[in-house]
Symmetry: C2
Subunit: 262 residues, 2 copies
């Protein structure tokens, strides 16, 4: 496993990790119409709540299980995943993290992280101070509600993932995962319409997400390819036949709902 630490860079002066490049009101993410429109005062508060940006290299450990971070992050760009490991070294990927989602809420409301987070790509994170979260709850009930909303959404994603891992055979499990990831990627513009998830994954990571061995994952990917449903290209998946995948995976689309971006 990668154990490289968090790498800090920044755009121009090479000095501060908290260079604030995007004011929240002109946040490039916020423009997407899947996010609910914030009021002026909400936007002002988020702007003040945000203490800077953190640039993270691909394959870095952002948070480690057992640590108690002073920060809470929102992903501005880039991808990551949450995972836990057993003492025998086997790893379970719990979920993937997309732009607009929070990292470190667990440590912020409880006192310690119970999972680790690792980046898949270079990332830009908006940094919030943990202790100011309480201030948010006091001053902006609407934002407090949004945070609960995000926590509840994460729970829903986990429910679906658990059902997938617990009850579907390997090929269907893969099909479902890719649809699941693809929907989320599309929503925030990571995937374009061409079926290509622009998401650098290794087969080992897919295996760890699905509770499968690497070898069996590889062979099941081949079966999906033989059926012309997906193609694996080094560090990535391409969806060839969405309808076919959906049929295989017992998939039902859900209407996308407006979501908060904090």
């Amino acid at each position: 496993m990668k154990t490289s630490g968090v790498q800090v860079k920044n755009g121009t002066n090479g000095k501060s990790r908290s260079a604030r490049q995007y004011p929240c009101e002109s946040c490039p993410l916020r423009d997407k119409d899947i996010f609910r429109k914030f009021s002026g005062s909400e936007l002002d508060f988020v702007q003040v709540f945000k203490t800077g940006e953190l640039l993270v290299e691909a394959q870095s450990t952002i948070l480690r299980e057992g640590a108690s971070s002073a920060h809470l992050y929102t992903v501005l760009s880039g991808l990551a995943f949450r995972y836990k490991t057993l003492t025998d070294g086997s790893r379970q990927i719990l979920n993937f993290v997309f732009p607009g989602e929070l990292i470190g809420l667990q440590a912020a409301v409880q006192s310690e992280m119970q999972h680790s987070v690792e980046s898949l790509t270079d990332m830009v994170l908006c940094v919030f101070q943990r202790e100011r979260l309480w201030e948010l709850y006091q001053k902006f009930p609407s934002l407090a509600f949004d945070i609960t909303w995000l926590a509840s959404r994460e729970e829903r994603l986990l429910d679906e993932h658990l059902l997938n891992v617990g009850r579907r055979p390997a090929v269907e499990r893969l099909a479902f995962l890719f649809l699941h990831i693809h929907r989320r990627a599309e929503a925030v513009g990571v995937a374009n319409g061409d079926g290509n998830l622009n998401m650098p994954l290794t087969q080992q990571q897919v295996a760890d997400a699905l509770g499968l061995s690497l070898v069996h994952t590889n062979k099941s990917l081949r079966k999906l390819y033989d059926r012309k449903l997906i193609a694996w290209q080094t560090r990535g998946v391409q969806i060839l036949d969405r309808k076919g995948l959906e049929e295989l995976a017992d998939w039902e689309e859900e209407e996308s709902r407006l979501r908060p971006l904090i």
Copy 2:
């Protein structure tokens, strides 16, 4: 599967489901020292927030996937579980629900339930109106924070469950589940010190929680019994050798933290 609807009874007059038997300040659950002490005003608000009590029979469906409930519940007594089903009928139990925990938060913050909830025993639920949740967020930031805390805790439990299902072989998986359940049961006084979980479970339910077949669950239970770790008695487990189980399941105890009771 059981499809009996929610059964409504009540103590004395057989008429109203909202007979309020316990005022919050003398709530028998709240006395337990695992719950954080509420201030007078918090208690007053919860008291007003609570519109009544709902009595539910064992094996009832409390909430159904796809439904949008007008209510949010806190379990006052009794046990339940959350689950999802696939179109082929197979079921995955996502988590168990113990006294002091919320039911229906997903429907309350999002608009629909994405899982179902079924009671294991007769239960008493405190009923809250969903639309007043927003009022809670506006007037009582501390309680709002508590709700986020509870959502985050549920996420943590799911993480652990997913790791268990995804990465442990059957015997260890059972061992871990029973320890997990036992810890939570003890915390709220469902289990006494004798190793007996007073929790009516069927082997099919255990299988559905762990992503195993009924037959294999049965045979794995026997292996645990042969090793004198647990005993299965009709609709229940007894832990015979906690230390042995912990060793088998790669278990580490965590300090119990004060939690909110809303």
